[in-house]
Symmetry: C2
Subunit: 352 residues, 2 copies
C-alpha cells in the first residue's frame, strides 16, 4: 500500500526519520554520559518505547498513570511517572502497577508525599519518589532548593518510600540557571546526608545541549522522536527532521488564493507555534494555514506560484505533534512512500 491509497486525513510516520532522531539523541547522551529516559507522551506507542530502550535508554517517562499502565502492559518495566499522583483511586492504581514493574514517581508538596507514604508501607519494596523542582517553568515543583531538601527529608523518613533524587522540567534555553538551581539543591541534599541518586531534566528544545546542565544525570526528551514546527522554531533541528505529517486533501478552492484542506483542529490541534500559521505545507512551503475550524484548514496561497487543485493531496507538518498523536486513533508507518503498517496509538487518550 502507498500513501495514495490512504483515505484522508491520515497521520503518517516516517520510520527512517524516527530512527535517525532516536539515534541522534542516544548518541548525544552516550557521548556525554547522560542516561536517556525518553518521554513516551509524544508517540504513545509500545513499539517505539521498546526501540528507545533497545537503543540504550535506561527506562521511559510517562506523564499520566494511564500511559504507564499501557506501557507496562506492553512489557516496559522501568517507568518514571513525572506527575503528582493524588487521591485514593490514583494511589490504588499506582500500588497495583508497583507490584508489576519498577516504577518511580514525583512529588512537589507535603500532601502528595503523604498520599504515597500512607499507601506504600513496605520497607522491603519501597516506592521511589523524586522531588519535582520548579526551576523557572512556573508549573509544578518546589520553589527553592531549601524546599527540595525539606521534602526529600519527608520522603526519606517514610518507611515505605525511597528518596530517588530531583526532577525538573526546566524552562527552555535556561540551562545555566537550571544548572545553578539544581547544583545548589544537590549540595544542600549532600550536606543533609541525602545525596540525589538521580537528577533528571527534560525537554526536546535543550536535548542536544543537555550536557550543559552539568548536574543532570538523566534526560527526558519526548518530542524529539517526531519533532514538529514548534521544536524547529525553537532551534531543534530542521523541518527535514520532522517524522510525522498529516496527509490531507484539498477539498475546496473557493478563490484564486484560498485552498481548504480536510484536516482541522480535530486533527492538527489548535496549538500555536512561534511561527505564523497552523502547520507547514510540505508541497507549498510559501502557503500559510491561516485558520483552522474543526474539520477544515484554510490556506492562503497568495505567496505560492504553483497552486493546488481540488483533489490534490498535501502533507502538513503540525505545530505540536504530541497533541496531534493524541487525537489520532491510528498512525501509518512509512518507509518512503510505502505504508509498512497501520497501528493503533496504544496510549491515546490515556489522560487519567
Amino acid at each position: 500500500m502507498r500513501t495514495a491509497d490512504l483515505d484522508t486525513p491520515a497521520v503518517l510516520v516516517d520510520l527512517d526519520r524516527v530512527e535517525r532522531n532516536l539515534r541522534r539523541a542516544q548518541d548525544y547522551a552516550d557521548r556525554h554520559g547522560i542516561r536517556l529516559r525518553p518521554h513516551i507522551k509524544t508517540h504513545k506507542l509500545v513499539r517505539f518505547a521498546r526501540r528507545q530502550l533497545r537503543l540504550g535508554a535506561v527506562g521511559i517517562t510517562c506523564q499520566k498513570l494511564g500511559e504507564a499502565e499501557c506501557m507496562a502492559g506492553g512489557g516496559i518495566d522501568d517507568i518514571l511517572v513525572t506527575y503528582d499522583l493524588v487521591g485514593p483511586i490514583k494511589l490504588r492504581r499506582l500500588a497495583a502497577l508497583h507490584e508489576r514493574v519498577r516504577i518511580a514517581v514525583v512529588a512537589d508538596g507535603e500532601a502528595v508525599v503523604e498520599g504515597y507514604a500512607t499507601t506504600f508501607r513496605d520497607p522491603g519494596r519501597p516506592l521511589e519518589v523524586l522531588v519535582e523542582c520548579d526551576t523557572g517553568a512556573g508549573r509544578c515543583g518546589v520553589q527553592t532548593p531549601a524546599e527540595a531538601v525539606a521534602l526529600a527529608r519527608r520522603i526519606a523518613a517514610a518507611p515505605g518510600l525511597r528518596f530517588g533524587g530531583l526532577m525538573t522540567f526546566q524552562p527552555r534555553a535556561r540551562r545555566r540557571e537550571t544548572d545553578a538551581w539544581l547544583a545548589e539543591a544537590r549540595e544542600r541534599l549532600e550536606a543533609a546526608g541525602l545525596p540525589p541518586a538521580t537528577v533528571s531534566a527534560g525537554g526536546t528544545p535543550d536535548l542536544l545541549r543537555a550536557a550543559e546542565i552539568t548536574t543532570a544525570t538523566e534526560y527526558r526528551p519526548g518530542t524529539y522522536i517526531y519533532s514538529d514546527r514548534m521544536q524547529v522554531a525553537w532551534g531543534h533541528g530542521s523541518l527535514e527532521d520532522c517524522a510525522l505529517t498529516v496527509l490531507a486533501t484539498v477539498v475546496s478552492r473557493p478563490t484564486a488564493t484560498r485552498a481548504v484542506l480536510d484536516a482541522g483542529s480535530k486533527v492538527l490541534a489548535a496549538d500555536t507555534a512561534p511561527v505564523p500559521g497552523h502547520g507547514h505545507v510540505l508541497e507549498y512551503p510559501e502557503a500559510v494555514i491561516t485558520a483552522l475550524s474543526e474539520e477544515h484548514a484554510v490556506v492562503d496561497l497568495a505567496a505560492c506560484e504553483r497552486r493546488p487543485a481540488v483533489g490534490d493531496r498535501v502533507r502538513v507538518i503540525p505545530n505540536h505533534v504530541c497533541v496531534v498523536v493524541n487525537l489520532a486513533d491510528r498512525v501509518h508507518l512509512l518507509r518512503g512512500d510505502r505504508v509498512e503498517e497501520t497501528v493503533p496509538v496504544d496510549a491515546r487518550g490515556r489522560v487519567t
Copy 2:
C-alpha cells in the same frame, strides 16, 4: 455512583441541562417555522441525535462522512453532510451510505460536483446536492449568488444528482448580510427555474435569532447542546447553560497563588475564547487558567479569597466543547451529582 467516585480528569454531561438546551432550540425553531437539523459534531453520540430527532428535528448534520457512517449505524436515517466529499475513497463510501439512508451532501465547485456526477448516475435514486455558499465566513463556498446559480445548473444537469438548495455556515452576528446574500441567490435561482427547496444556515451563536435570516428554511446548530465559554462570550445564553464540564483534581499548590490541575490540552484543548484563560473554574470563578501544557492546567488564584488544597476537585467549563468531546473516549452522564451512565463517544475521532 457519584462524581466523587470518578477518577480524574473526567468529562461530565448534565442531562437536565442538555434537555433544556435542546428544548429551547426546538421551541424557537417551531415558533418560527424553521426546520432544525442539529449538527452532531459537538456531542458525537447516537443517543443525543435520537433525542434531537424525537424533539422535532428533521434530520441531523454531520461534518465528516465517518460521523455520518457512525450515526447511520445507530439508526439515524436522514443526514446532511455539510462537506465537499472528494476523491474515489470518499465517493465509494458515500455511495454505500446512500444505499442505506437518506443522505444529502454539499458542493462548492465544479470538481466536487464532477465527482458526485460520475459516481451517482441513477435518476431513480439521485443524490441530493446543496450548493455551499460563502456568505462571509471565508471558508468553503461559492463566492457570489451568480456562482451559486451556475453550480446549481451543473448539479441539475447531472442525471444522478438532484439540486437540493443552498447551504451556508454564515459569519457570526451578520444575519442581515447573510440574508441579503441568500435572498439574491434564491431570486436568481427562481429566475433560472431552480427554486431551492432548502436554504440551510447554521451556528449556535445566531441560533436564537435564526429567524432574522428570513431566507433560511433550515438551521443547523451544533454547540448549543452543551454550550461553552466561547458561546457565552459571543452572547449565547449564560454559563448556567453549559452542560459539559471537566472534572479535575488539584495536584499541586506550588505557591500561594498557583494551583495546578490534572487536565491539560489533551483534555481541555488549546482553543482560545474571546475571554481570558483556558476555561472557567466553577468553584473558583475568579481563578484564571493562565496556561495549559499537555496534562496540566496552571491556575492563577491571586483574585480568589478561598483557595483550593491539593486533592480538591473542581469542575471546568471548557472554551470550546466540540474539541473536548473529540478528545474524550467516554463521557459521564449525570443527573445532579449522580452518574447515570458512562458511555463511549460514538463518533470520536471520525475525521475521515
